[in-house]
């Protein structure tokens, strides 16, 4: 029973139906991953300037020269990866820590102005980022004079409202009785957070960490705005610069794109469960 009728008159009818559905799904899946397949396959080509291109969908040979070409483009190309890693790690750690603390406070601790403050944060989620971008740029670059620093890359995203919202949603479902009995035992609020809330919220913290890391790794515009020398750029900004400098080098460009995306693919395939869970945590009420 279910949405589909599983008791068709003939077995072959059901096979035919499921086969048809599977065919459509697979065709669509192929179309979805084709660009990524194309990117990886093409990155193994030779680093020659593309005149009249002939694209190979099945590589005749595998060469890593294009990767070498990409890394040779700038002596800072390895630094880009490192910068991305530093930025993403710092933002992830601080988000997990501060968003979960705030989420706990907003869901379980009574204090004056709690609802008002939380409502304010929610309203802020509605504001398009274009509104804050210009003043933020002026603040960081013109007032604090922080361009080309890790602080400029990291500070604005130290803790995002979305993550606070996510952890608050999750922690609301933790039963109050546990917290009260911990209080009876003489725990203070930080001990409760550290010994009870944090262990119980491992899943949501993992989801938060992964999504934040991925978003930060993939972010382009903010690093692009606040960095102006190659040694401070992230891999995404570096890739964009490479693209503009070498418009005809097809295979090296694909190698660069692969380099920028590969860490996330590895992360995705090793922590798939959390990624897929993470998508629904914020969306489905509960």
């Amino acid at each position: 029973m279910g949405l589909y009728n599983n008791y068709l008159k003939h077995k072959w009818l059901m096979l035919l139906r499921n086969g048809g559905i599977a065919f459509i799904l697979i065709a669509f899946a192929l179309a979805t991953i084709f660009p990524i397949y194309f990117m990886i396959i093409s990155s193994f080509g030779d680093p020659v300037e593309a005149g009249a291109m002939s694209y190979e969908l099945f590589p005749k040979k595998i060469s890593f020269d294009s990767y070498k070409f990409f890394f040779d483009y700038s002596k800072y190309s390895y630094t880009w990866l490192l910068n991305s890693l530093i930025m993403a790690s710092a933002i992830t750690v601080s988000n997990v820590l501060f968003a979960s603390l705030a989420g706990y406070a907003f869901s379980k601790i009574q204090f004056k102005g709690r609802n008002f403050l939380f409502f304010m944060l929610l309203c802020a989620m509605m504001i398009p980022y274009q509104v804050t971008q210009v003043p933020l740029y002026i603040l960081i670059v013109n007032i604090f004079n922080l361009q080309n620093t890790y602080t400029a890359l990291i500070a604005p995203s130290l803790v995002t409202v979305y993550n606070i919202f996510l952890s608050k949603q999750f922690m609301t479902s933790i039963p109050n009785e546990i917290l009260e009995s911990a209080k009876m035992e003489g725990c203070n609020q930080f001990q409760i957070y550290w010994k009870i809330i944090a262990p119980l919220s491992k899943t949501v913290m993992a989801v938060m960490a992964i999504l934040t890391f991925m978003d930060t790794w993939n972010t382009f515009f903010w690093p692009f705005l606040v960095t102006n020398t190659m040694d401070m750029q992230t891999i995404q900004v570096g890739l964009k610069n490479f693209k503009f400098a070498n418009t005809t080098y097809f295979a090296p460009m694909m190698a660069g794109a692969t380099i920028s995306a590969l860490p996330m693919f590895i992360l995705f395939f090793s922590l798939q469960k959390y990624f897929l869970e993470g998508v629904t945590v914020g969306a489905v009420k509960g």
């Binding site: 603040l139 964009k240 694909m254």
Partner: protein
């Protein structure tokens, strides 16, 4: 005796707790105040000024007047609306259909499909735009030209001609941004209790009856959520346009987000950009309100 003691300890406990409460949200609040609240207020002020690093001049409503008088602004609004209409409802429909089709399969197959559909969301926008740039190679040998060649369509200068540039961005979005909504739809679908279908079957309902009378009403909150977030997101989108077409040719792909970005960081017209971003914020707020009004009577978050 007990009764007199209890309230006082309770009071003290709450008082102690609120200190903890404020401590726990301190960093979050500080970051919020500095990097969100202050910029919003500041954006209002800047929008009434002509910004100069050393002393801006007050120009009143000039920036707003200029914006409303600018042809390019209206064109960018039009482009944004077209892009949104072509991408958001279509993506929702695809995601819904795919989610429905995934349901009859076994758990591991469902997960595999979910993972594959989600994969483009994992890759960075810059990487994807680099790849799609080559897929849209205008030469005869370009991948996309070969594909449409199979259907007997002549090769096109996809990103280079104003007739097809927008369509190119739309197709790219169709094929790379449905993963999230498929997963969300699927989760909602799995949340529908089987007893509803069983009851419907007893009444002789077929697949389409069940789809129409059970699934669609049940998924209405999900659809509304995806629609609202999709439209809000789509109105701010400009990364692909920026990286692939730069808003051209002939401003055919200049969306509001890109216009604001260019005004701010290419021409350094901070005042103008702030005014436009606030107009964008108002438009987004109005659209969201309308959607909630018409679709959201029974939706709770």
């Amino acid at each position: 005796m007990i009764q007199t003691v209890k309230p006082s300890t309770k009071k003290r406990k709450i008082k102690g707790d609120s200190v903890w409460g404020y401590t726990f949200i301190a960093v979050a609040l500080l970051v919020f105040a500095m990097f969100t609240a202050y910029p919003v207020v500041s954006a209002f002020i800047i929008s009434f000024q002509e910004y100069k690093p050393l002393g801006s001049t007050w120009v009143g409503l000039e920036n707003y007047k200029d914006t409303f008088a600018s042809e390019l602004f209206w064109k960018s609004i039009k482009n944004t609306v077209i892009y949104t209409i072509l991408t958001v409802p279509f993506a929702l429909f695809i995601s819904f259909a795919v989610a429905i089709m995934i349901i009859p399969f076994k758990k591991w197959l469902q997960t595999t499909f979910k993972a594959v559909y989600y994969l483009p969301a994992v890759a960075s926008g810059v990487a994807l735009s680099v790849v799609w740039l080559w897929i849209y190679d205008p030469m005869k040998s370009g991948i996309f030209n070969k594909v449409i060649g199979l259907f007997g369509i002549e090769n096109q200068n996809w990103l280079g001609s104003s007739a097809t540039a927008m369509l190119s961005l739309v197709i790219m979005s169709w094929l790379s941004s449905h993963g999230t909504s498929i997963i969300i739809y699927l989760a909602a679908l799995l949340g529908i209790d089987n007893s509803y279908y069983e009851a419907a079957e007893l009444d002789g309902a077929n697949f389409f009856h069940k789809l129409w009378y059970i699934v669609i009403p049940f998924l209405k909150p999900t659809t509304l959520f995806l629609l609202v977030t999709g439209i809000i997101g789509s109105f701010q989108v400009f990364q692909n346009a920026y990286l692939m077409t730069g808003g051209g040719p002939d401003h055919a792909t200049t969306m509001v987000g890109l216009l604001i970005f260019n005004n701010a960081f290419t021409y350094f017209e901070f005042g103008q950009a702030s005014a436009q971003s606030l107009i964008l914020a108002v438009i987004i707020a109005v659209i969201s309100l309308i959607q909630f009004k018409f679709l959201g009577n029974d939706v709770e978050y």
